[in-house]
C-alpha cells in the first residue's frame, strides 16, 4: 500500500479517535445500590425541634464541613402577634451550639432546621455552565467537585441559600443528603443525631416508607412553593412567617 505523508497525517488522528472509542467500551455499571429504586427527600417536623444543634454538629463531623459554612443549620423564629411578616430570626453559628435562652415574651418562638431541599427542578443545577452539579437518578442534588470550576453561579441561584464555596477546595459544596450513607442503607448523619426525631429521611419510591402515611394524614409545606422548585424537604408545622 502506498501512503503519502499527507495521507498518514490524516489517518493517524483518525486511528487515535477510533482507538479511544474502542478503549472507552461500555459505560461503567452502577454499583449494587439501584438508583432507580429510590427517590429521596426529607421530612422536617418543626414542633419536635428543640434547637439543640445536634444536626449541625453531626453534619460538620460527618462531611468535614469547614467552620463558618453550613450544609444544614437551624434558625430560631420569634413572631409577635402584630409582626407576622417581619419575624426576628437568629441562627448563632448556624445554631451549632444551641440558642440563647428565650425569656417568656409576647408572640411565639419556634425552630426551623434548614438544609438543601433536593429540588426535583432545582435552579442550582440549571445554571451550572459545565455540568458539575446535577440531580442524580435517585433525586439527590450533588456536586461533582472534580468538575466544578468554582464560578459560584449555583450559590447565587439557590433560593434557599444552601450552597457555599468551599474555602480551601474553591469549589461549590452543599448537602449530599449523606449520599455515602443512604446508598449503604444508613440514614443521614443529621437524622441519626437528632434526639427528638424532628428530621426523617424519606424514600418516596419505597412503598413501605412511613413518609407516605405521614403525607397522607398531615398538612405539610415546602419552602418557597411559589418558586416551583419541586422541593423535597417537607415541613410539618411550618409557620407562614418562615421565608
Amino acid at each position: 500500500m502506498n501512503i503519502s505523508r499527507r495521507h498518514l497525517l490524516i489517518l493517524l488522528p483518525a486511528a487515535a479517535v477510533a482507538w479511544k472509542f474502542v478503549e472507552a467500551g461500555t459505560p461503567e455499571a452502577s454499583p449494587n445500590y439501584q438508583m432507580s429504586d429510590h427517590w429521596w427527600g426529607m421530612l422536617i417536623n418543626i414542633p419536635k425541634c428543640i434547637g439543640c444543634g445536634n444536626c449541625v454538629r453531626a453534619c460538620q463531623t460527618e462531611n468535614d464541613v469547614p467552620d463558618g459554612n453550613f450544609r444544614t443549620w437551624v434558625e430560631r423564629y420569634h413572631v409577635t402577634d402584630t409582626e407576622m411578616t417581619n419575624p426576628e430570626v437568629i441562627s448563632p453559628d448556624g445554631g451549632k451550639e444551641g440558642f440563647p435562652v428565650a425569656q417568656e415574651d409576647a408572640g411565639k418562638y419556634f425552630f426551623v432546621p434548614k438544609m438543601c431541599n433536593h429540588c426535583a427542578d432545582s435552579p442550582c443545577t440549571q445554571v451550572c455552565p459545565v455540568g458539575a452539579t446535577f440531580i442524580s437518578p435517585d433525586g439527590v442534588v450533588l456536586v461533582d467537585q472534580t468538575y466544578c470550576l468554582g464560578c459560584g453561579y449555583c450559590v447565587q441561584a439557590c433560593p434557599y441559600g444552601c450552597r457555599y464555596l468551599h474555602p480551601t477546595k474553591h469549589v461549590a459544596d452543599k448537602c449530599t443528603l449523606c449520599y455515602h450513607r443512604i446508598t449503604k442503607g444508613l440514614t443521614t448523619a443529621c437524622c441519626e443525631a437528632c434526639p427528638t426525631g424532628a428530621r426523617q429521611l424519606a424514600d418516596l419510591k419505597n412503598p413501605n416508607d412511613p413518609i407516605h402515611e405521614f403525607l397522607k394524614t398531615h398538612p405539610v409545606e415546602v419552602l418557597k412553593p411559589q418558586m416551583a422548585t419541586g422541593a423535597k424537604a417537607y415541613y410539618f408545622g411550618l409557620d407562614g412567617s418562615v421565608r
Binding site: 490524516i10 488522528p13 453531626a58 460527618e62 440558642f99 435562652v101 461533582d144 455515602h180 444508613l186
Partner: protein, 205 residues
Amino acid sequence: MAVRRQRLMSGLKDAGHLFRFAGLFVVAFLVFLVVRAYVVPKTFGQYGHYRGAAMGEIAQHPVKFAGHQTCETCHSDIADTKTKGAHAHVNCEACHGALFQRMPAPPQPKGNLYQRFVALIVPPLPPDTPILLHADDPATVVPEKPDTLVLCVRCHTASAAKPKGFPQVDPTVHMGGVPCETCHNPHSPTMGSDAGASPAPGGAK
C-alpha cells in the same frame, strides 16, 4: 452536455486552493475529536449532562456515624435499658457523637502522564482522610465519656422557644454544678426523681 462537463472540469482545476482549505478543516475536526475524546470523561452523559462516575465517588466518602444498629450489636444491655425510658428514641450517637479517629493518609498514586499533566494545570482535590471507627476497632478507638453538664444542658435548658411538652430545667437552680448522672441515668432518665430521692428545685415540669 460535453461543453458543460468541460466547463466544470476547468472550474475544478482552479479550485485546488479550496480543497486544501477543506482539508485543513477536516484535519482540525479530527484533532478536535481526539482532544475531545481525551478531555471529556468517559462517563459524562451516562445519565445526563454530568459525569456518571461522580455519584460512585461521592458514595465512597467514609462513614463516621456508625448508626445505632451498629452500636446495639455489642451494647445490647444499654439498648435494653434505653427502650424502657424517655430516651428510647434518642440514638446513641446523638449524645456520644461519632466515635472515630483519623488515620494517616496513604500515599497517592501519581497517575499516568496525561493525569500528571492535568494535575499541573488543575491541582487535584485532597482525598478523604481515612478513618477508623470505634465499631471496627474498639480497643484502639476509645471514646471519651461525654460531660453531662454540657450535653444534657444543651437540650434540657428551659427556654420559651422550646416545645411546651419537652422536659426543661433551669440549670442554675436545678443542679448547682452537680453532674446530671449523679441523680439521673442518662440512658433511661426519669423525670423529677430517681430511686425515691426528693425532686430538685427548678426541675422539669
